[in-house]
């Protein structure tokens, strides 16, 4: 009995000493973290973990510090241990998720963040990072859902509104994107990226004048902001004000003649003014600066097409589809120009590709039908026209639905 008491007393004494040391080490670790000394903090917490190896919180803490020190594999291991010890430790799931995200392993990142968010749905941090993870993984509707929840938790956080705007934009929910970006811009007028995005969404909702005002605000703060300057031109283009658009793009080029996109956009403005010669010159300049600008090849090809130069049209469209094999519009014009040149077999191939890539557009079907007819494939021609008619009817039904009197 006496021995048991002795052992018990010694154990109690040792435990008390351990707790004190554990506390000391934990405090030390936190102090070092606050001072930015991740390495020192890690040592302290590892010592603490040696005392209390079944502490989920300590495993999580160690894992966090390892992640800070970019020792991701070890970090993930610690997080796993923390979660194994306590599956309801939200912060461990959160840290684990973030670590996987840093490795761009969204397949693992997202479930961990989701667990964290389920455990603590009122955590702005968890919802925000989960939303960002969804965005990075291309799951934009889910991203929008989480980020929307995050804005409810911190309605004055401009960053999250900006992230929400981007998620809506990528999810093609333009109206909601406009609203989100508007919030971001109002909360942080200095966030020029948000303001630029806001303006671009306003262009999409056909509010070009409002968009121009936003872009001009960006330029007031940052006169050299090329994006904003270009976006003004884009906004003018969207409302058909080609003269102002051209002037704007010229202004960008006056500052920096090597802006390929500005040359391209100026070319578009000139082309729409039927100034094909100068438009071509701009497209060629854009291509010279950026050979990979497929849209410039396409637009150059169109300008040749309008002038009846089918050889050059074909050349440019071939370049465009070589660089971007899923460029449906380019396949379509390529096929059309080949048909006009009489190269019917090549035309049919190109048009079939256009149909495959743009099944919602009746144009390629009709042109394919015309080409097949000339080759003598009457049944194929009829089938193509029939399919084109179906697609057209579906589009018209959709338009009719939109026009129901409200």
């Amino acid at each position: 009995m006496r021995i048991y008491c002795f052992v018990f007393c010694i154990a109690a004494l040792c435990f008390g000493q351990d707790q004190a040391e554990l506390q000391q080490l934990t405090d030390q670790g936190r102090t070092m973290m606050a001072a930015g000394d991740a390495s020192g903090a890690l040592v302290a917490f590892q010592k603490a973990l040696a005392i209390s190896p079944n502490s989920a919180e300590l495993h999580d803490q160690v894992g966090f510090l390892l992640a800070v020190l970019k020792r991701n594999a070890e970090a993930e291991d610690e997080f796993s241990k923390a979660i194994a010890l306590d599956d309801r430790l939200g912060v461990a799931h959160y840290h684990s998720g973030v670590a996987y995200c840093l490795d761009k392993d969204y397949a693992r990142c997202i479930p961990e963040l989701q667990k964290a968010a389920r455990l603590d749905p009122k955590s702005f941090t968890y919802r925000y990072h989960l939303g960002n993870a969804f965005s990075a993984a291309g799951r934009h509707s889910e991203a929008a859902e989480e980020l929307k929840a995050a804005t409810a938790l911190q309605p004055r956080n401009a960053e999250v509104w900006n992230a929400l705007g981007l998620a809506y934009q990528n999810a093609n929910n333009v109206t909601s994107a406009v609203d989100a970006y508007r919030h971001a811009s109002q909360l942080n007028p200095g966030n020029l990226e948000a303001r630029n995005n806001y303006g671009l969404m306003l262009v999409q909702t056909r509010e070009a004048d409002k968009a121009i005002a936003e872009f001009r605000r960006v330029l007031e703060t940052d006169p050299g902001n090329v994006n904003a300057a270009m976006n003004i031109g884009t906004a003018y283009m969207s409302k058909g004000d080609l003269d102002h658009a051209a002037a704007q793009f010229r202004a960008v080029l006056a500052r920096d003649p090597n802006q390929a996109l500005a040359h391209y956009n100026l070319g578009l403005a000139l082309k729409n003014k039927d100034d094909l010669v100068n438009a071509r010159s701009e497209f060629e300049s854009a291509i010279a600066l950026d050979r990979g600008l497929t849209e410039a090849h396409y637009a150059l090809g169109i300008s040749y097409w309008q002038a009846g130069d089918f050889d050059r049209t074909i050349e440019q469209m071939n370049q465009a589809v070589a660089m971007r094999p899923d460029y449906g519009e380019a396949w379509f014009i390529l096929g059309t120009a080949l048909k006009q040149k009489g190269a019917l077999n090549d035309a049919v191939s190109a048009l079939r590709e256009a149909v495959r890539l743009r099944p919602e557009d009746p144009g390629p079907y009709n042109t394919l039908g015309q080409a097949l007819r000339v080759t003598g494939d009457i049944e194929g021609s009829k089938a193509a026209f029939a399919q084109g008619a179906k697609v057209k009817a579906a589009k018209e039904a959709e338009q009719a639905g939109m026009l129901k009197r409200k």
């Binding site: 056909r206 509010e207 070009a208 969207s238 409302k239 058909g240 004000d241 080609l242 003269d243 102002h244 729409n272 003014k273 039927d274 094909l276 097409w305 309008q306 002038a307 009846g308 089918f310 379509f332 014009i333 059309t336 006009q340 009746p362 144009g363 390629p364 079907y365 009709n366 042109t367 394919l368 039908g369 015309q370 007819r373 026209f385 084109g388 057209k392 589009k395 018209e396 338009q399 009719a400 639905g401 939109m402 026009l403 129901k404 009197r405 409200k406």
Partner: protein, 574 residues
């Protein structure tokens, strides 16, 4: 040829659209000058609200006809007129269609009331033809709602006999049909002119969507909705019974087999040279229709197979006005069609066997996309024997007038000169102030109103006074004007094909009702002869008869009667 002072004065009378340098530069050999004001054509066409339109009906504007209603050998003018939804007019002040008699001195007199043709309504198109073969040209006017068949009484007056003749288009139940382009044609070759009417949209202002419904936007501006998304109308074919009445044979003829379409311009021509008239309809925002005459009272829509339904890349276009001519002088009638801005106009070259090849880009018409075209005509403006093209433009939506969008609401014309090699050159900037003047043009008609051997143009503008573009041609090229009078064929000679040969150069054209954008050209056929002093004429009548008239001297107006050759000749300005 006007004096220089008169020339400058006439330009200053219109909105200034050109620089002093342009005014003072030496004019090119052919100039179009707007002489509407001096001519006494000063009444505005009223059509829809001026700044913002709720409905598409307010945008389509009206047609215009050159018609020699009194058979004096001088072209008179009939302007269709419209109205406004919310307007109320004092008695006698409502806008009416107008008939102007040619005074033969460059001026016209308004004889509307005297002629009894003053009607108010949403007037659309006009076409001319002697439907009762009494020797006087009658006038058919389409409306949103019931149309008017103005029977020419031969004494300077007209009577609306639409109901009596059975060409009303009232579907009942308080509804109205939206009738647009029209043409008289003898589709069954029985010697009596039948009547084809295009229809646009099934429209009821009580249920039609408003701009905010879609919302319907154009470059960010809220505009009238449609046609896409709206129910299309059904075209109509009336067969002339030969007793001053007509029967609706739309269903029987197969015209109704084309599903609801948005029909505007109507063009009748024998496209496959089989002696039977076919009908081409420019549809808005959908495939155009080409009704091939099956010679048995029926038609088949072969537009898609023929290659005239779509753009070169297979897309439906917003087709408005159309014209036919043999622009490459190969004996086959080709087609030009106007389309929306952002698109090109279309040039379809006839290859024979009812097939066409879209030559828009190859011919040089692909370079202009910023204008919105309505009325169009092939015309040999320089009398060199090759058909040129003139396009009347103006934007659909008055809302763009408030902005700097594209070419604006009021737009200039485009003149393409035929180079004789299948290609055209844009000659607009050198063709005179009338071409450069910006208006909201709609229907336009082509004809020689001053009988001086060159083709003038009359334009019906939306909510504005019209234009009368007199062609002042100082070139020495020769010309011929041919009027046809049927005896076994319909009296107007509509459908008669005239081949005018000067050496190896053969020009082919047909007497045609309707065409352009819901308008009516001079029924006389004009041929430019270049330096040739004579030409040989061949007239293929709708009856099947052929008259050959060789060695016709240039620079005169001849009347050829079926079976009897030339019955009268008149020198220019006579």
């Amino acid at each position: 040829m006007p004096s220089r002072r008169g020339f400058i004065q006439s330009m200053c009378a219109t909105a200034s659209v050109f620089s002093l340098e342009q005014i003072m530069a030496a004019p090119a050999a052919v100039q179009f000058v707007n002489v509407a004001r001096q001519a006494g054509l000063n009444e505005r066409t009223i059509f829809g609200a001026e700044k913002k339109n709720k409905f598409l009906l307010e945008t389509t504007g009206c047609g215009v006809a050159f018609v020699d209603y009194d058979n004096d050998g001088w072209l008179d003018i009939f302007f269709v007129n419209g109205t406004r939804f919310e307007a109320t007019y004092a008695p006698g002040k409502a806008p009416v269609s107008r008939l102007y008699k040619n005074n033969r001195d460059g001026t016209f007199t308004d004889v509307t009331v005297k002629a009894g043709v003053a009607r108010t309504g949403w007037g659309q198109g006009v076409c001319v033809g002697d439907y009762n073969n009494d020797g006087h040209e009658d006038i058919f006017v389409t409306y949103w709602g019931d149309c008017s068949l103005w029977r020419n009484n031969g004494d300077g007056t007209f009577t609306d006999v639409a109901a009596k003749a059975g060409v009303t288009t009232d579907p009942g139940h308080g509804q109205r049909r939206w009738n647009t382009g029209c043409a008289f044609l003898d589709f069954d070759r029985d010697g009596h002119l039948d009547l084809f009417i295009a229809n646009y949209i099934d429209f009821d202002p009580k249920t039609a969507p408003l701009p905010q419904s879609g919302p319907c936007l154009y470059k960010g501006l809220m505009v009238a909705c449609g046609p896409p998304g709206l129910k299309g109308g059904k075209n109509i074919l009336f067969r002339n019974n030969g007793d001053d009445t007509f029967t609706d044979v739309s269903a029987k003829s197969g015209i109704l087999n084309t599903p609801g379409t948005y029909g505007l311009g109507v063009l009748v021509a024998d496209f496959d040279n089989d002696g039977w008239p076919d009908i081409y309809v420019a549809n808005d925002s959908t495939s155009s229709a080409l009704y091939k005459n099956n010679r048995d009272g029926t038609f088949s829509d072969v537009a898609i197979d023929a290659g005239v339904a779509y753009s070169p890349d297979g897309k439906p276009q917003a087709g408005m006005g159309i014209s036919a001519a043999d622009y490459d002088c190969d004996g086959l009638l080709d087609i030009v069609k106007t389309n929306f801005s952002g698109d090109t106009h279309s040039l379809y070259r006839n290859l024979g066997n009812m097939t066409f090849d879209d030559q828009t880009f190859q011919a040089g018409l692909g370079k202009n996309t910023r204008f919105l075209g309505w009325g169009v005509g092939f015309l040999d403006y320089d009398n060199d024997g090759w058909a040129d093209i003139l396009v009347c433009n103006g934007h659909v939506y008055p809302e763009v007038g408030e902005t700097d969008a594209e070419a604006g609401y009021r737009e200039r014309k485009i003149l393409y000169r035929n180079l004789g090699n299948g290609k055209f050159q844009d000659a607009s900037m050198d063709a005179g102030p009338g071409i450069l003047e910006k208006v909201a043009g709609r229907g336009c008609a082509f004809g020689d109103f001053d009988n001086d051997g060159d083709i003038d143009v009359v334009v019906n503008c939306v909510n504005d006074v019209p234009q009368l573009l007199r062609c002042d041609n100082t070139m020495k090229n020769n010309w011929l004007l041919v009027k046809t009078v049927g005896t076994k064929s319909n009296r107007s000679g509509i459908g008669a094909r005239v081949i005018c040969s000067t050496g190896d150069h053969r020009q082919t054209n047909e007497v045609r009702s309707g065409g352009s954008y819901i308008s009516q050209n001079d029924l006389r056929l004009h041929f430019g002869l270049g330096s040739s002093e004579t030409s040989d004429l061949e007239v293929h009548w709708p009856s099947g008869a052929v008259d050959k008239v060789p060695g016709v001297a240039a620079n005169q107006i001849v009347t050829i009667v079926e079976g009897a050759g030339i019955k009268s000749r008149r020198a220019r300005n006579d």
